[in-house]
């Protein structure tokens, strides 16, 4: 049987991270939950990882305006392109 239900802390925390983005598969979630039954450290990590997601959702937002190149940069770039084209 290739099915491995018991995983290491490294694997468990990776699944926990995937789960923060709702991208862990059903089997992965089963493995994670089995691991969490026995591992308090990963339990704490899991809780804090969720909190980290909350912090990011609260504080990190897309900049709402487009970022532009400055006019001076554009002029310099035009000159360089002209030079290059010669």
């Amino acid at each position: 049987m290739g099915l491995k239900l018991f995983i290491s802390c490294d694997e468990a925390t990776t699944i926990c991270t995937k789960n923060q983005y709702k991208e862990a598969s059903f089997l992965e979630k089963v493995k994670l939950n089995i691991h969490l039954l026995n591992c308090k450290i990963c339990g704490l990590y899991s809780k804090q990882n969720t909190k980290l997601t909350d912090m990011c959702n609260t504080h990190l937002q897309k900049p709402d305006c487009e970022q532009k190149m400055g006019d001076a940069d554009k002029e310099a770039l035009k000159l360089k392109l002209k030079e290059f084209g010669k």
């Binding site: 490294d10 980290l52 912090m55 504080h59 532009k68 392109l81």
Partner: protein, 189 residues
């Protein structure tokens, strides 16, 4: 009969017509403004060099974007081989009986003062931003593409030329480092 439009290139108008668009596209994917400007410039140079290969099937901007995408992947290849490795601390035993178990010094600690340290706090945002700035470039970019730009996993993989398992390893390590950084600089105080 449908008429096929033949697109043309006009390099003298590239900067005015496309530089903002290309720059905005690049800035969300690389580290700094300076780097983004350099990549846009290189894209125009490569475009000039490759003009004779342009067959008029794509619009000018689409064609330039395809060059730009290659440049961004090249940039990631470069930092990957040069200094992308071993910059993030290891959290687990890498071999032996304990392979995959927590290293003692990396075990998460209780965040004692969680209750009084509300996550809405604007000072927390400062600490979080600092912690993100301290991540190695590759980790920061992938993390921000996923968390802030909210790109699909597949999209990020295509754009940066990495596999999905690469991506999860990167995000996993980035989040370990962020958690630790917030523990040391926010919750421990």
């Amino acid at each position: 009969m449908s008429e096929v439009i033949k697109h043309t290139l006009d390099p003298s108008k590239w900067v005015d017509a496309h530089s903002d668009y290309l720059f905005n596209y690049t800035i969300t994917r690389v580290d700094s403004q300076e780097l983004a400007k350099d990549i846009v410039q290189e894209t125009f140079f490569s475009g000039l060099k490759a003009m004779k290969n342009f067959r008029g099937q794509a619009a000018e901007r689409t064609w330039l974007i395809s060059i730009l995408k290659r440049k961004i992947i090249d940039h990631y290849r470069k930092i990957n081989s040069a200094r992308g490795k071993a910059e993030v601390k290891v959290n687990f035993y890498e071999e032996g009986d304990k392979k995959g178990s927590w290293l003692e010094e990396r075990v998460p600690q209780q965040w004692g003062n969680e209750a009084e340290k509300n996550i809405e706090n604007t000072e927390l945002k400062g600490t979080l931003d600092n912690c993100i700035q301290n991540l190695p470039e590759k980790y920061r970019t992938v993390f921000l593409l996923k968390n802030v730009q909210q790109y699909e996993t597949e999209e990020i993989c295509n754009e940066l030329g990495i596999t999905a398992s690469n991506l999860w390893v990167i995000i996993h390590r980035a989040r370990h480092q962020l958690r630790k950084c917030m523990e040391d600089n926010w919750f421990a105080k």
